[in-house]
Amino acid sequence: MKLLGRIARDRVALAGLIVLAVIVLAAIFAPVLAPYPLDVNTYHTAQRLLPPSAAHWFGTDQMGGDIFSRLLFGARITLITAVIAVAVSVAIGVPIGLVGGYWPGFAGDGLMRVSDVFLAVPQIVLAMAIAATLGPQIQNVILALSLTYWPFWARLVYAETRNAKNEIYVEAAVALGVPPWRVMVLHILPAIAPSLIIRTSIGLGGTILVASALGFLGLGPPPPSPEWGRMIADARAFLPGAWWDAAAPGIAILVLVMAFNLIGDGLRDVLDPKLRGQAAAKGGAVD
């Protein structure tokens, strides 16, 4: 809570936080808020591709569905996908990084070589391959993203753990005979938590971008799912006439990812004293 208060003082981060809160609430209450909640699955051929109006704020798509309503339901898919995928990646990657960084010898290096293999190609390529093999389902997208994202966390935690191991408080704990797992969980993990929190926020934004690209390429949940990437792909056939059909989901992605990034930036300013010091350095050095 104290953290939230401090973030809130950074105006940009606060804006991000508010936008995120609005989108999360909209996703939760989509069935109530959506003017046409049934438009996710039903067709109204008479109302195809209507431009934005009072009745349809963002217009309608090629099936006559209300784009605003579909966006609200699409937000659920996007948020759930990103949150689960990042949570699973963190749950796999952080322990591996901790163990690897704590025993950097043979075991640690081995683990890091494995993550190097994953990191040797862009995440989206591996995720595409997995999602394509398993078939276009939302669970498969989540699985594909998780399986390809954990090495990033392992690398990050590995590097930070190796640094933390040289800190006096960790050396002291080790010297006092505290068992390794307790050192890792009670001493190292809290020390690296700030950078993990920052990366989680930015990672959620990045994961949304990859997930929507998978959807755009037809590897996401199948139609008539209101997944944002797929909505954009479907809208392409009706350009330039029905530009609103392509515009709306893209703006939704932009706004949501931006919110996560701004929160991440705000967290960085609040949590990372090193970076704050750097910003204040100008003019401070007199001698």
Binding site: V125, I130, A246, V257
Partner: protein, 333 residues
């Protein structure tokens, strides 16, 4: 000599990483049992024909044997034959490489030429309106979905303003030439109408790819310059009569860029990832489009080949960056 040691230490791990990559992709593509022989033999093939083909392709062997044979083949430079086009994968990749490289090259060029000066100016005028506007732009660049930005550009410049073609790399046939970069081949042969056509095709995909890359470069350059401006040598040079612009653009920028350089690997990785999607949108006949097609068609050999190729490229780029880092900072030599 430190440099040679560094290169050697990195190269030692290259084969292991690549073999790991092959195993990984092999495992991924066999997560679900499927039968490429059946697909290849066609609808009307008899069971016996399919079995014969399976035997010929080695698909009746146990998976570990298939994997081993594949690794050995790749080590000999043979990536197998695409299941769909029936052409050798290595040749296909080689043919498509220049298209992607040309795209990536100009995107990187644009991102650096714009990103570095903008980052410096933002750092010099911290918290001015310029800095704030640029911050909005860079934050958007990192939050925008590349495929959507591409479509937006098509809508605006191709469909509404009619300035650029919607898709493709060139209107007619590519200019003949050795480099495979159409911009260079056309210039060499002095074919200026082709050159113009090539540039018009390049414009939108290059902008799409360059935007997020530029955003990253702006952010790191700005942070680097702000950090270096606090260094004592800046005040020293000012006191000793060196003009401010010389201190900033020669000395401060050089320090800041050694930091930015470490991020070029990241930028390049994002550029390649972006190319996969952007080539699909612009129907750009490069490696990204090849990857998307082969993944959508479960074309194993093509997927494996592409992945290995990108892996090699990544490793080389990161090695070059480490070398550049050492060369730029004399303390490391």
């Amino acid at each position: 000599m430190r440099l040679l040691g560094l290169i050697a230490r990195r190269l030692v791990w290259v084969p292991a990483t690549l073999i790991g990559l092959v195993v990984l992709v092999f495992v991924i593509s066999h997560l679900v049992p499927s039968d490429p022989a059946r697909i290849l033999a066609g609808e009307n093939a008899t069971t016996a024909q399919v079995a014969a083909l399976r035997h010929k392709m080695g698909l009746d062997q146990p998976l570990p044997v298939q994997l081993l044979r594949y690794v050995i083949d790749v080590a000999r430079g043979n990536m197998g034959v695409s299941l769909y086009t029936q052409t050798p994968v290595a040749g296909e990749i080689w043919r498509r490489l220049p298209a992607t490289m040309e795209l990536a090259f100009y995107a990187m060029l644009l991102a650096v030429l714009l990103g570095v000066p903008l980052g410096v100016v933002a750092a010099l005028r911290r918290n001015s309106w310029f800095d704030h506007v640029l911050r909005v732009v860079t934050v958007s660049g990192l939050a925008i979905a590349a495929f959507w930005f591409a479509i937006l550009l098509q809508l605006l410049f191709s469909m509404w303003l009619n300035l650029t073609p919607v898709q493709g790399r060139i209107s007619d046939f590519g200019p003949s030439g050795v480099t495979g970069f159409y911009t260079i081949d056309a210039a060499i042969s002095g074919n200026w109408s082709t050159e113009l056509d090539v540039l018009r095709h390049l414009a939108l995909p290059v902008i799409t790819l360059a935007f997020p890359a530029m955003a990253t470069i702006v952010r790191f350059t700005r942070a680097g310059v702000i950090g270096t401006l606090g260094s004592f040598f800046v005040d020293y040079q000012r006191a000793m009569g060196v003009p401010w612009r010389v201190t900033v653009w020669r000395y401060v920028l050089r320090s800041a860029l050694t930091g930015t350089l470490t991020q070029i690997g990241l930028v390049f990785g994002n550029l390649l990832a972006g190319a996969v999607v952007v080539e699909a949108v612009f129907d750009w006949p490069g490696l990204g489009q090849f990857a998307v097609n082969s993944i959508l068609q479960s074309d194993y050999n093509a997927i494996l080949g592409f992945t290995i190729y990108v892996g090699v490229m990544f490793i080389v780029v990161n090695l070059l960056i480490d070398v550049g880092q050492v060369l730029l900072d004399p303390r490391g030599r």
